[in-house]
Amino acid sequence: MLNVQGLTGGYHTVPVVKDVSFTVKKGEMLGILGPNGSGKSTLLKVISGVLPMQSGTVDLDGKAIHKYASKELAKHMAVLPQLHVHAFSNTVRETISLGRYPHQSGFFSSWSDKDEKAIQDAMRLTDVKMYENTYLDELSGGEQQRVFVAQALAQQAKIILLDEPTNHLDIAHQQQLLDTIKLQANEKDLTIISVFHDMNLASLYCDRLLLLENGVVKIIGEPHVVLKQKQIESVYKARVSSHPHPEQPKPQITLLPSLGDLQVDELITKEHFTVSNENVVLHSKTPLKTVSSAVVNAGSGWFRSFVNRHVKADYECDDSTQEMVDYLEAQGFSTTDTVGMMTAVRTENAVIEEYKGTFGSIIIAVTAGVGNAVDVSKAFEREDVPYVGTINTWIIVNGKLSDEAFIQAMITATEAKTKALQHEDVRDPLTNTLATGTSTDSLLVAATQKGQLLQYAGPITEIGKCIGRGVFESTTLAIKRYKKAKGM
């Protein structure tokens, strides 16, 4: 479709873009990324012929772009620049109708049915039909931008060049606009080249990305190839981290602030815990990075309060999460800053122990009951529904864990818990085999993320040793207390 080879050009005699080569296939959406002043917009302008090229070629459908007559080129290529200012006030209809300019000719204007259909379609797709007779300057920036998208669509070109189409738009309008463009591209097999300021948007919508650095192509490829942490850091000179998008198979870049010593270091100790017959609570001054299988705020996140709440053994509720949120609110906890768990076990029997290692220290907090003990290898024979959690294990780490260390910490903790059940000879009442856990155990790993990075947390790492020993000892003790309380 579009073939750019060795393109050098820009303003005056100093080339802004240097030796740029790439091809875009029909139906493809290519995003152009780069820091401010890297030549993104200039590249677009040289391709569209607004700025001169010093060397290289730009071929559209196998024909050099400068060999097209103005109107002919506009039939093949539509360009949507950034938001503009107007001297006079045109209506939305007049503005969109201009998109038909390359299709019209003659001394008298000949507005054909085809022209009318094209602008009606464009207005429908961009949802601006209701503004048809409104003046452009009475619309908001987002609406105006949609009108110009409609103008470009009315042009019915096979390739559309966009320069930061979502500039100045809020996220809802960004989404609407890019959804429209992307869906159009798919439906009509349009080719899209767009400059993006926001690499996350580019990643979400583009098939391939082109990263410019000082007017030179740094890399071109699929988003996962381009949006790599080290690469983005070196081009943009900023600390970033790359994460998967929660819904789309695309990477997202998050900025990492360099605030250094602004944050206070805080060491979590046993004294931070309060235990009552109603709950076990941990308050931390600074948020802890947490991964858990809790009732409220499960999954990963940053939290300052942690609550393990005692409920009656016959607790039953249709929406236990909402009930737990209500409880936390009533107790004065912030529901967005608190991880909440439940247990039928009496919380005053909780075991809280501190373990020190060369890396720092960890605190283990366990509440255990084994009434619902299960042998996981035999669990397929059971048909009962889950109950409220029984062995709830918290591991609070005064240290900095990597993502893999979080996962390994959970594995290590689970293995240690199973070993404790074995040690106490807890059996699955149904099969009379050794239990590996209970039916609804919960686990929480939280770390202060201060100090040296702990890349791994397997059983024979320093922290793994602490977790293994700590969880085993704490769980064993908790089961003993449980048995004692039950008079077993």
Binding site: A74, F88, N90, L98, Y101
Partner: protein
């Protein structure tokens, strides 16, 4: 569409009314029958066809040309303050005319037409110089370049005019009178002289009505929409300059029409130049015919310069429309 049709019908009706008033009213009232029955009264028919009609037609053509040129320049330069005189073409025409008066030049064969011919030559030379210079400064001829070049040349030529006025003696009244503009005592030859240029200018602009619409969004946008910007800009500048030059050389520098008519049209009926251009043409004609009528009847038998009247009538009318419709259009 209905609104547009209404605009055209109303404008044409106003024009017809203006023409009729223009030929009937004056120091001698002429009944309307004389128009189609010359035998009604030969003396009156003579006044109507040889004095009033050419005057009305010339006023109409001048008004139409200035209004249309103004509309085109405002659109092209994307500047609501632009008018037919922005490019300096009118100053060139004025210098040509004032030189004729100042030096009392009378070229054989041309006789009385020495002034309009020299004026037109002045306009033409200025147009070529201004555009040539603008192109020399900036090959892409950006709008800012054109406006600045126009201002430079207008100022220079304006100082030449001031110089001649300062040095003039008894010609002063004549010079001032010409500069303020008038369409009196011209007759059909002036109409014939200006008409071909006006037709060329009109056609050049009419051919670019859609391009002006595209250029309203900026040259880059227009280019992306498929407009051959360089060529079209040249056509519009040339067309507008020819209209202006032709109008000024036969009537002097009549202000305000080129500014107020296009804006009024835009406020009333929108900024689509496919309609702004022809509607400006029609209503520019009407305005100047009415203004000329007022200028020769208000303190009859003396005549006021028409340029005084255009602003005198035009400004309040414009102010009223502007105030009434300020929410609809941005000027």
């Amino acid at each position: 569409m209905n609104k547009t049709w209404f605009a055209y019908v109303a404008s044409v009706l106003v024009l017809i009314a203006a023409v009729l008033a223009g030929v009937m009213i004056g120091s001698v009232s002429i009944p309307i029958q004389v128009l189609w029955n010359p035998n009604f009264d030969e003396g009156l028919a003579n006044i109507l066809w040889n004095i009033r009609m050419p005057r009305v037609v010339l006023a109409g053509l001048v008004g139409a040309s200035l209004a249309m040129a103004g509309a085109a320049f405002q659109g092209l330069l994307r500047n609501p303050l632009a008018d037919p005189y922005t490019l300096g073409v009118s100053s060139g025409a004025s210098v040509g005319a004032v030189v004729t008066l100042f030096f009392g030049i009378s070229i054989p064969f041309l006789g009385l037409f020495t002034l309009p011919v020299l004026s037109m030559i002045g306009a033409f030379l200025t147009m070529i110089i201004v555009m040539g210079f603008a192109k020399l400064v900036d090959r892409t001829m950006k709008m800012e370049t054109i406006i600045l070049t126009g201002i430079i040349f207008s100022s220079f030529l304006g100082s030449l005019l001031s110089l001649m006025i300062a040095l003039s003696g008894e010609e002063l009244r004549q010079i001032i009178g010409w500069l303020l503009g008038s369409v009196s005592m011209r007759g059909w030859p002036y109409v014939k002289m200006a008409l071909p240029f006006m037709i060329i200018g009109f056609v050049l602009l009419w051919l670019n009505r859609r391009e002006i619409n595209a250029l309203l969004f900026g040259e880059e946008r227009a280019k992306h929409l498929g407009v051959d910007v360089k060529k079209r800009k040249m056509m519009i500048l040339t067309g507008g300059s020819i209209l202006t030059g032709a109008a000024v050389s036969v009537s002097g520098t009549i202000g305000f029409v080129g500014l107020v008519i296009p804006h009024t049209i835009r406020i009333l009926w929108g900024a689509d130049h496919r309609h702004v251009l022809p509607l400006s043409f029609i209503n520019g004609a009407s305005l100047l015919i009415v203004c000329d009528l007022v200028s020769r009847t208000i303190i009859s038998p003396s005549e006021l310069p028409i340029g005084v009247i255009t602003a005198f009538i035009g400004a309040p009318v414009f102010a009223f429309i502007f105030w009434k419709q300020r929410r609809k259009g941005s000027v």
